[in-house]
Symmetry: C2
Subunit: 359 residues, 2 copies
């Protein structure tokens, strides 16, 4: 921290090109402090991030998450400068219903990874966090050992009223974390709305965490998730649960066999673990290594990231076109009337759309 302040101070001077104006008779220490608190420059932050400074990384993420337009523009410059340093990582998405033990798993997995020399960033996508005040990763005490690990960086879900906004912030945060030297990015999500699909579209590997008991706890999970998974990990496979977990593993393996082949050429795997007892964790990492071997040799890894970039480019454009259209007061009002007419069988959805587009 001390080192950081020094870097900061000198950077400030460098930026201004002069010493604080003594002629104004202000307390110069106070002046510097106030100014420093206010705004480190883009260059400061970029050089901080790329040299692995966590405080600067956090500050830059705060700018990414801000709605203030000055911050947004600054964030944009930082991200652009960080891009050449990004991309060298494996991005892992982790999802599962509440109660499945996501935090315990991520903590055990994260500690295993830092133990083998990895630098791990844990992010989250939870569009409901504005309302629930951060249901996931909000309470860092749930990962108390990982929080203390100097090779781990944990950041709760950005808040935002739309999934699109939250997803953009997380995607940009991934770039910053990668530029800061984190080589393993874990993105946690809870099954709310379309958030898993969004996370699936920003990771290389998608892991579904489950419990034994198969059919029963599937009720709470969104449709389509099983098909997205590159691995299904059955957690809490210990003690009395072990037998049921083994049976669930067989059942899932059989079910996965019925799914069409993935574009990646990878056949999803089913694995058992006990995050609490730290069992089966290394197997999962090995499985991800196998996945990386297969997908990089086939060039799928790179192609997939390119496709994801195109997806987010088009997705962002289309979301904005829609929000521009629907946010007009006149459209809001007329849309409601047209929906009523369609429901009453007085017009068709197509004629109604035509009408709205010609307003």
């Amino acid at each position: 921290m001390a080192k950081k302040e020094n870097t900061y101070k000198s950077a400030l001077h460098e930026q201004d090109g002069i010493e604080p104006p003594k002629i104004l008779n202000v307390n110069s220490a106070k002046f510097i402090k106030a100014k420093r608190k206010k705004q480190p420059s883009v260059d400061d932050l970029v050089s901080g991030i790329t040299s692995g400074n966590i405080t600067d990384l956090s500050r830059a993420i705060t700018l990414v998450e801000s709605t203030n337009s000055t911050h947004t523009s600054k964030a944009h410059d930082i991200i652009t400068a960080c891009l050449p340093h990004a991309n060298k990582s494996v991005r892992i998405g982790i999802t599962g219903v509440p109660g499945v033990g996501k935090s315990t798993f991520i903590e055990a997995f994260g500690i295993y990874l830092t133990g083998i020399g990895k630098k791990v960033a844990v992010l989250a996508v939870d569009p409901s966090s504005t309302l629930s005040k951060g249901s996931i990763l909000g309470d860092k005490t749930r990962m108390e050992d990982l929080v203390k690990d100097k090779n781990a960086f944990i950041r709760p879900s950005p808040s935002g009223d739309s999934l699109g906004g939250v997803a953009r912030k997380t995607r940009e945060t991934i770039i910053l974390c990668e530029a800061a030297g984190f080589d393993t990015i874990i993105i946690e999500t809870v099954g709310v709305g379309q958030s898993e699909t969004a996370v699936h579209s920003m990771v290389d590997f998608f892991l579904l965490l489950k419990l034994a008991g198969a059919g029963d706890e599937l009720q709470g999970i969104k449709r389509g998730i099983i098909e997205m998974a590159d691995a299904i990990v059955i957690n809490k496979a210990d003690g009395d649960n072990l037998k049921a977990a083994k049976a669930a593993k067989i059942e899932f393996k059989r079910a996965l066999h019925l799914y069409p082949e993935k574009d990646s050429g990878w056949s999803p795997k089913v694995s058992l673990c006990s995050a609490l007892k730290q069992q089966g964790i290394s197997d999962i990492w090995e499985l991800i290594q196998d996945y990386l071997k297969i997908t990089t040799s086939k060039n799928y890894f790179e192609l997939n990231r390119n496709d994801q970039n195109k997806f987010w480019l088009l997705q962002t454009i289309e979301e904005r076109l829609k929000s521009n259209f629907y946010s007009s007061e006149k459209i809001k009002h007329e849309l409601e009337s047209q929906i009523k007419l369609v429901e009453a069988g007085k017009t068709t959805p197509f004629a109604a759309a035509e009408y709205l587009l010609n307003i």
Copy 2:
């Protein structure tokens, strides 16, 4: 046909309010014929359709499928006039990979249905039909008995360069068929791109046709289809295939058990049939009856149709907003450059989107 011509002739006179002008010394029979060939009025067609006239139904569908703006506007008026007569049917989507026996199944199923007093319309959604010149339903000889059935109406897929266009035309054709008294609408689709999703969004019941051999033939099918199915019907369950079909049934039942519950409250069923030997066909109809009983009692049936209408309303708006945006020459050009910049890691998808939206 004779009856039809009479209806037509009188309708024409009614519309004109006068006899053909003898003063012009034209052959009046020829005059009427020429005029009739050219353009029956909206009222003619609507009254023809609602009294079950198949020729008028076909003519109106041709207007729906036309790209000529006069035809489009006429089609719009006909559909609006038909709306109060529509909606009283069950709409069944049928999909399956090529070779699964869709045509044979639909013929056997259709003949069973007309045999128990139903009026059956068979439509198709196949966006590739422009290129392949109608790969499905194009060759009506594949359903030669059903074609001759006076209570059946078969119409190949409309052509069109976009799935959105084909889907719109089919949705509007459903309305016309219902107004013409068809109480069972079957919509066939082949697994091309997003066409199953489109068909799923316009039917009450979605049936996936399969063959025994489970895992193997799943390779050709698109992801997500199993989750959409209300029933999986294993066709060609006869002779030497019967044993494998029974095994496949058990395997699918087990797999379906792993899927989350459907909003409809319906648990998808697995059924065996031999379309060729006309075995197991009535079971499928009974199964659909069960489905209708459950979903109408829960009000899901109505809610689902309303949701589908809203879906198509919003979908149409959004497709148009996109096509308006992307069709600009400037955007086309700049989009390509921005994609290249994103791929080269010089900008982010979000910054690129921002740039394009501000052009």
